[in-house]
Amino acid sequence: MILVMVICGPLGNVLLGKGMKHVGTLGVWPVSHLLTTALAVFTSISIWMGITSLLVFFVAYALVLSWADYSFVQPASSLAYGVVALLGYLMLGESVSPLRWVGIAIICLGVFVVSRTSPRTTHPEPAGRE
């Protein structure tokens, strides 16, 4: 489930990003601009794919949250940054700056540290947990 989350989240964002770039600058005011913008946004295919992907992400996220601490899941979901970089590097041949790799390494370290704590601390029986 965390895997689904970590893959669908960034995928949705990338698709949305692509779609929004395609739409161009957002006009929000006056209202007539908002309407043209909304029309352009909601007729884009990659935006709908992005929304679907984010929806799958959200369901997976909610399912994980049904048994794990929020303060456990939220840091874990940041592995997505690593997935994005890795996908970009392997599939699209994007260059990833050293600083970014360092950041990803620190994220992984942080997630590792968090993953060694108990996933759920709100259970009634406190003995031996943490």
Partner: protein, 124 residues
Amino acid sequence: MANFLLFSVIVLAGTGGELCVSRAMKQVGEATSFHPAHIVAVVLRALRQPWMWAGVGMMALAFFALLGALSIYNVSFVVPVTALSYIAGALGGVVFLHERINFWRWLGVLLVAIGVTLVIVGKN
């Protein structure tokens, strides 16, 4: 001041919304299997939780605030601010969900926030 307000909305409504969703899911109870019918049942039950709607509403608000901020500032300026939400999320978990965060989890959350900031700074 307006900027500060906008960024506060992004961080607070975003994490606040996720905390509400988390609370709703705790009320729904543990999802025990990955069977599609079971997942649908859990989702339907979740949609009946008031906290779920409060959460989704706040997340939508944060999303539009983020879009608004992105149309005014560079991504490289906006997104590091959202790394703050890891700290806000952990605090919210303690206060709102009564999660008990020990030293190691704080350390991990801090590392993740630092790492996320570096990833975003290293993008350009």
